[in-house]
Symmetry: C2
Subunit: 106 residues, 2 copies
Amino acid sequence: MNKTHPKHDIYVAIADPTRRKIIRLLADADELPLHELTAQFQIGRTAVSKHLAILKETDLVINRKLGRETRYRLNAAPLQEVKDWLSFYEKFWNERATLLKKILEE
Amino acid sequence: MNKTHPKHDIYVAIADPTRRKIIRLLADADELPLHELTAQFQIGRTAVSKHLAILKETDLVINRKLGRETRYRLNAAPLQEVKDWLSFYEKFWNERATLLKKILEE
DNA sequence: AGTTTATATTTAGTGATTGTTATATGTCTA
DNA sequence: TAGACATATAACAATCACTAAATATAAACT
């Protein structure tokens, strides 16, 4: 069976605060095994593992097996898609700021 | 009763494709009533109305009543939070690009 | 006034998400 | 090899998200 149908997209992946925290932890630590990640949360290993699986689906994390542990690493590249999506709307909040500035200048 | 406890945050708000499409439609059209928005989707008015309620919770849309219709308008400002969150990770995908360039240069 | 139009609210059902415990598989170490 | 350790997977339960249908409210039109 092929990995045809990614069930989650990036937007869903980053919607969960636990997953955003995982992303941050991996950004700070370069590479971490599941048990060390789990230590940063109240939830169990299994739950963290599932969040990692969702992040893996979107290629936001990569993992490699090292003996008995699996080390997880951040791959920030997919976040560019979100950035691109956002960049379209920047002009709107800039417009707002421009308008506000204009009003205040009078 | 006060609006104390926003059930959804901005990340959840933009995680749904229907809501992202609503955001885009409002960006393009400036101001739209529910029925005109609904016409752009397969789903019913109720569903669109609820998506708008979620977007309103995060202040991504503002609405005003005009006679019997409610006009919805985009407020892009809350998207800045996502942009700020992303900006921290930009260096990671830039690092990657830098690394790739370095490899290719050899 | 009565009908149509626009929207909101309530109710309800299905399916997805998040988490748990239990079980299985594989790896290191004593 | 026996154990302890690291993780994955399966089975299950609770909660939440998404949508539809029915009902309610209020404005506009004839």
